[in-house]
């Protein structure tokens, strides 16, 4: 499994567990837009960032934590990978 796939997998499991309880995992694709569509809200952003920092031992700056940078699993994995 590539690094990106591994990150995506962990983030996907977290998002499904925390914010999309009951969703079919197949419905959450790598390009599903989470924040700009209103599926996740600003509180979810904070929780997601806290999870990413802890899980991957990285620091995410305030300006990086906006909807554009974290909109899809691909975006999130890219940000995390760039920090490791």
């Amino acid at each position: 499994m590539s690094e990106t796939q591994e990150i995506q997998g962990k983030v996907k499991a977290f998002v499904l567990r925390e914010f999309l309880d009951g969703e079919d995992p197949a419905a959450l694709g790598p390009e599903t837009r989470l924040f700009t569509t209103g599926i996740l809200d600003s509180i979810a952003t904070l929780k997601l960032v806290a999870f990413l920092e802890k899980e991957f031992d990285i620091t995410i700056e305030a300006h990086e934590a906006d909807a554009q940078n974290l909109d899809t699993l691909v975006d999130i994995a890219r940000l995390v990978a760039s920090k490791r």
């Binding site: 999309l20 599903t32 599926i39 809200d41 509180i43």
Partner: protein, 517 residues
């Protein structure tokens, strides 16, 4: 005295002081803000706006939006602030509901709003701003319009106290937002109370955290501007980012902060406040919901110097009771602080189901009257009548909030007598969410409940019965809701059932739904 006299007087007294600042660094003096508002007033009058009309403002928080607000007031019209982050279906409904004469809109939202309004059969004149910031976009728009045809100078209208100043739309239980009508007297009596209570001075720097369609914005906008102080506008996106907010408070040297407890809770949990010098703050005001004591205690530890005020009141009265948090929170205290005493410009009674006063210490509904209280809802005579209690001693607004008077005379909030909840300080009628869900083609039955969550907030859970009995995608449902409802109304969780539990009278059994996992 009209609400816009706040600006006119300060522009005469302190023309060169900064009235409004944006975090981008752009700022405008009182003199320039008045001049910009006057120019837009002239244009609005040229477009046919007259005393008593409504003008919708669909512009992100900016100096441009503040100038637009004052321009509408100077015309003697009422401004209708739309939520720039809400879907066009909702904003279009609001514009049509109160038949606005003019829509002032930021270019990005123009097409969707025009389509929605046309669908609803209204075609107001439109003023389009190409972007916002510093008042420059509004200035450029006015120049462009002037080149197309001059707008002669118009007089500022001397508003009567009962003229409408603004209409704030809140969640409606029938599925449609309802417009709370607020007059100049409603607003100025409240701003006068704020002036007496918080004693603003020219050197104060007030935060403007709440969006303009939210009633907290009335204190933010008019209290500092009445005293030659400075207002710092916090844009919608920064407003939800604790790290950026903490940085902003320190950099802008905010002296009076006002927001919902939710935001303060986020600041103290995620804002790394220990890394910021926020010593400029002298007063922290919060309103809109209960402040969990655990977060309030942490905030006071991080910011020990300021005084803390719990303000309470629905949009219909704006703040109607207030309580100053004691300097030291007793270590054993776990319950939230009371909402305090009725503000000096209003009167309050606590009544039973028949509308009679209950003895002190007994639970009852808080009712309010006085110059701050709305006359009612736009175009909703029946709902307006239901919202008021007519007694021999006059007409009282029923807040719908159950309270009881503590031995010391402070009122304690106990709960609601209906299905309205507060989500991050926003009023949410669970019935409006249900009405939204019923518009989904696959939904046969919908019932929405709100439960406390682990973090002292609220989880909104939708229970659904689908037409074919199949589960629906949560992602698809949330996306559907986002097309109809503001983000804070989108359910956090969904549950699917073959049928919903019913009471013996065949109504949805919400009590049982509350207990279901």
């Amino acid at each position: 005295m009209g609400l816009h006299d706040v600006l006119i007087r300060s522009a005469a007294r302190t023309p060169d002081r900064v009235a409004v600042r944006e975090p981008s660094g752009r700022a405008i003096t009182y003199r320039a803000l008045e001049a910009l508002s006057d120019r837009l007033r002239d244009r609005l009058v040229a477009l046919g706006v007259r005393r008593g009309d409504r003008v919708a403002i669909h512009v992100p928080k900016s100096i441009d939006a503040v100038a637009a607000i004052f321009a509408v007031l100077e015309c003697g019209a009422a401004y209708v602030p739309l939520d720039p982050t809400a879907p066009a279906t909702r904003n279009g409904f609001i514009a049509a509901d109160c038949s606005v004469r003019v829509l002032i809109v930021e270019a990005g939202a123009r097409t969707a709003m025009l389509a929605e309004m046309e669908r609803l059969g209204i075609t107001p004149a439109v003023i389009t701003l190409e972007g916002t910031g510093g008042g420059d976009a509004l200035g450029a728009t006015l120049e462009r319009l002037q080149a197309e045809g001059a707008a002669p100078a118009a007089a500022t209208v001397d508003a009567a106290p009962d003229d409408l100043a603004y209409i704030l739309y809140t969640s409606g239980s029938t599925g449609k937002p309802k417009g709370v009508m607020l007059s100049h007297r409603n607003a100025t009596s409240f701003v006068d109370w704020c002036s007496r209570t918080f004693a603003p001075v020219e050197s104060d720097v007030f935060s403007s955290h709440a969006p303009f369609h939210f009633d907290l914005s009335i204190l933010d906008l008019y209290t500092p501007l009445a005293h030659g102080a400075t207002l710092v506008l916090i844009p919608e996106d920064t407003g939800k980012e604790p790290l950026a907010l903490a940085e902003l408070i320190a950099r802008e040297r905010i002296t009076v902060w006002y927001s919902t407890p939710s935001i303060l809770s986020l600041l103290v949990q995620y804002g790394r406040l220990e890394a910021r010098d926020c010593a400029s703050i002298r007063a922290v005001l919060f309103a809109g919901e209960v402040f969990p004591i655990v977060h309030l205690r942490a905030l006071k530890a991080a910011w020990p110097a300021p005084r803390y005020y719990n303000l309470y009141g629905p949009t219909e009265t704006n703040v109607c009771t207030w309580f100053e948090v004691p300097a030291t929170i007793p270590p054993g205290r776990v319950e939230p602080f009371p909402i305090g005493r009725v503000c000096s410009h209003l009167e309050g009674v606590v009544v039973d189901e028949r509308g009679d006063d209950v003895p002190a210490g007994q639970e009852g509904q808080l009712c309010i009257r006085g110059p701050g209280v709305t006359r009612g809802y736009w175009n909703l005579a029946e709902q307006t009548a239901r919202a008021f209690l007519e007694r021999r001693d006059g007409r009282w607004y029923r807040t719908g909030d159950l309270v009881l008077e503590e031995p010391g005379g402070d009122l304690r909030f106990v709960g609601r007598n209906d299905r309205m909840v507060k989500k991050r300080g926003f009023r949410v009628e669970l019935g409006e969410i249900e009405a939204g869900l019923y518009r989904h083609p696959a939904v046969r039955e919908a019932a929405v409940v709100a439960l406390p969550d682990r973090g002292d907030g609220l989880v909104v859970r939708a229970h659904l019965v689908t037409r074919d009995g199949q589960r629906l995608s949560i992602i698809e449902l949330k996306t559907f809701c986002a097309s109809l409802l503001p983000k804070y109304m989108i359910p956090d969780a969904f549950r699917f059932h073959p049928e919903l539990p019913k009471t013996s009278t065949d109504k949805t059994d919400y009590q049982r739904l509350l207990q279901m996992e």
